[in-house]
C-alpha cells in the first residue's frame, strides 16, 4: 500500500521525478565509465604484454611495473642475458610516453620475433628505413592510416607507415629501436627487456638467478607482471576513482535532498492527513525513504544504460587511446553509492515530514 502511494507520488510529478533520476544517473554513469575505462585500458595493456609471448620481464632500477618513458637499462645486459642457461631469446625495447595515455615503443624486430613469433601485418610490412613507423589496426582506424601513407605529430615529425599490424601485441605505435633511442637521447639504453625461457618449468629458477645477478632491477615473470596490472595498483587511478565515488554520493545526496525537501513542503497537507489517520513518524519517514530509494534505483538503471552509451561513443571515437569495459561487479557498487546518497538526502526531509504538526497542516491552508 505504501508502495502504491509512493509510486503515485512519483507519477504525479513526472518532471521532478525524471529530473531527479537523471541527476542521480549522471554520477552513476561517471563512476561506471571511469572504472570501465581504467579497467578496460589496463586490461588492454595487459593483453598487449601477454601478446608479446615473453616469460620474464626486466624493468629499470627503481621503477615500478607501470612507469614508462625512462630508459636506464644499459644495452649490454642483453648480451649478458643471452648467455644465461635456459634463456632462448632476449629482446630490449624503449618506451617513450606521448601525450595523454599514449606511448610509442622502440623495437628490434629481429630479436622480438624470436620471442613473439613476429607481428601479423594487415597491411604493409616491417621497417625498411629510419623514417618508418608501424601502427596497430586500432590506431590506423582512428587516424585513417594506410601502409605507405604518412603520419605526423609523433615526436614532432612525420613518419612513413611501413605496416599496420593486428592489435594486441606489445604496443600500438612502434619505431625501430635505434631511431627511438637516438630521438629521445637514450642511445644505448633500454626501458624494458623481454626474456624467453626454454621450458615453463624453468621460469622460476631463471627469475631467481637473474634477481641474484642483476641486483636492484625489478624482474617479474610474465604471470606476476600481469597480476600486478590492476586498478588498485595504480595509485593515481584508484585515488581518482575514490574522488568520483565521493562526488557521486554528494550529488545523490544533494539531488534527493532538494527534491524530497520541496516535495515534502508541497505535501504538508497529505502528511497531515496520514497523521490524522494514525500514521506514526516511522510510517511517514518510511514513505519518504522509499521514494528516495526508488529515485536511486531509477538513477542506477539509467546510469548503467548511459554507461553503455559512453562505451559506444568511446569505441566509435577513440578506439586506439581508450577502451571502456562494462564492469558488472561495479553495478551494485554504483547502485549502493546512489542509494547511500539518496537515503542520506531523504533523511532530513523525511524527519521533517515525520515530525510535522498535523494540526498546522490541516487547519491552515
Amino acid at each position: 500500500m505504501i508502495n502504491k502511494l509512493v509510486l503515485e507520488n512519483l507519477k504525479q510529478r513526472p518532471i521532478r521525478t525524471s529530473l531527479s533520476i537523471l541527476l542521480i544517473g549522471v554520477p552513476v554513469t561517471l563512476i561506471l565509465t571511469l572504472v570501465g575505462l581504467s579497467e578496460g585500458t589496463l586490461e588492454d595493456s595487459a593483453r598487449r604484454q601477454r601478446g608479446v609471448g615473453a616469460d620474464i620481464v626486466i624493468r629499470p632500477r627503481g621503477s615500478s611495473f607501470m612507469a614508462l618513458s625512462s630508459a636506464p637499462i644499459p644495452e649490454g645486459i642483453v648480451k649478458m642475458l643471452s648467455q644465461e642457461p635456459h634463456i632462448t631469446a632476449v629482446s630490449g625495447t624503449v618506451i617513450q610516453a606521448l601525450s595523454g595515455l599514449n606511448s610509442i615503443t622502440g623495437v628490434d624486430l629481429e630479436s622480438f620475433s624470436r620471442i613473439s613469433g613476429g607481428f601479423r601485418f594487415i597491411e604493409g610490412g616491417p621497417f625498411r628505413g629510419p623514417d618508418d613507423i608501424i601502427v596497430d589496426q586500432f590506431y590506423a582506424a582512428q587516424n585513417n592510416l594506410h601502409a605507405g601513407g604518412r603520419v605526423g605529430g609523433i615526436l614532432n615529425r612525420e613518419w612513413r607507415v611501413a605496416g599496420i599490424i593486428e592489435g594486441g601485441k606489445l604496443a600500438r605505435l612502434m619505431l625501430p629501436i635505434r631511431v627511438l633511442q637516438d630521438a629521445t637521447g637514450n642511445t644505448g639504453k633500454l626501458s624494458q627487456i623481454y626474456v624467453k625461457v626454454d621450458r615453463p618449468a624453468n621460469i622460476d629458477a631463471v627469475v631467481a638467478s637473474l634477481r641474484a645477478k642483476l641486483e636492484g632491477y625489478p624482474i617479474y615473470s610474465m604471470e606476476e607482471l600481469l597480476s600486478l596490472i590492476s586498478v588498485n595498483n595504480v595509485p593515481l587511478l584508484s585515488g581518482f576513482i575514490d574522488v568520483v565515488v565521493g562526488i557521486g554520493i554528494i550529488i545523490g545526496f544533494a539531488v534527493v535532498f532538494l527534491s524530497m525537501y520541496t516535495s515534502v513542503l508541497q505535501r504538508t497537507r497529505e502528511i497531515g492527513i496520514l497523521k490524522s489517520l494514525g500514521a506514526s513518524r516511522w510510517y511517514v519517514l518510511n514513505i519518504v525513504l522509499r521514494e528516495a530509494t526508488l529515485l536511486a534505483v531509477g538513477g542506477t538503471v539509467l546510469g548503467i544504460l548511459l554507461s553503455f552509451a559512453t562505451k559506444w561513443v568511446i569505441a566509435e571515437m577513440v578506439p586506439a587511446s581508450l577502451t571502456q569495459k562494462i564492469v558488472l561487479p561495479w553495478w551494485p557498487i554504483a547502485g549502493l553509492i546512489a542509494l547511500c546518497g539518496s537515503l542520506l538526502g531523504g533523511l532530513y526531509p523525511g524527519y521533517q515530514a515525520a515530525s510535522q504538526d498535523p494540526i498546522e497542516a490541516l487547519a491552515y491552508e
Binding site: 502504491k4 502511494l5 492527513i273 490524522s276 494514525g278 513518524r281 490541516l362
Partner: protein, 225 residues
Amino acid sequence: MSETVIQIEGLRKVFRVGKVDVEALRGVDFEVLQGEFVSIVGPSGSGKSTLFHVIGGLTPPTAGTVRVLNYDLAALTDAGRTNLRKTAVGFVFQKFNLLPTLTAADNIAIARHIAGRDHIAEDPEFRKVLDLLGITHRLHHKPAALSGGEQQRVAIARAIVNHPAILLADEPTGNLDSQNSQAVLSVLRDLNERIGQTILMITHNPEAAAYGHRLVNMRDGRIVQ
C-alpha cells in the same frame, strides 16, 4: 445504560504563538455517551476545532482531564496519541482531505493499512457501510473525478473503516451545496442509527445541527448553557 466514551473536565488548551499565548480552550467540561450524535455550534474562533483536535489526539491538552475510551490524554505520549488516532477515532474535515494521488478505494485502503488491518480481507459490516454511503460504484475514481459530496462520503468511509468508537466531523458540509449536504448528513444519521456510530459534528448551519440528538454551544473557549 450507555457507556461514557468521552469525559472531559476543566480542559484548557493554550497555543503559544511567538511570545503571545492564545487560549483556545478555557475550561471545558463535556461528556459523551456511546451512540450519541452531538452537534457542536459556536462562532468562529470559539475553540470547536481545537476541542476536536484534543479529543482526537492530534494535540495534547494543556490542563484538565480528558478521557477518551480508556485513554487518559493528559498522560499520553506522542506515540500513544498516534495509537488513539489509529484505533479509537476517525476524522472528517471540511476540506475533504483525500489523498489526491490515490483512488477512493485506495484512500480507504491506506487507512486500513495504517491501522494494520489491511490483511483482514473481508469486512461485511463495512460493505454495508459503503452501500449506505452510496459510493460503491465510484471507488475506482481519483478524488478529482468525484463530486464534493462523493469525496466527503469517501472521507467518511475512510474515517470509519477501522470501526473507531468515535467519529469527529469538523464542518463536514461546510464546502457542499445543500443537496450534497443533505446526502452527507443523512448518511451520518444513518450510520448513527443503524450501526450505533458515536458522532460529534461541528457545524455553522442550524439545519445541519438539527440532525444531531444534542446541541452543544461553544463561545470563547467554553461550552455555554
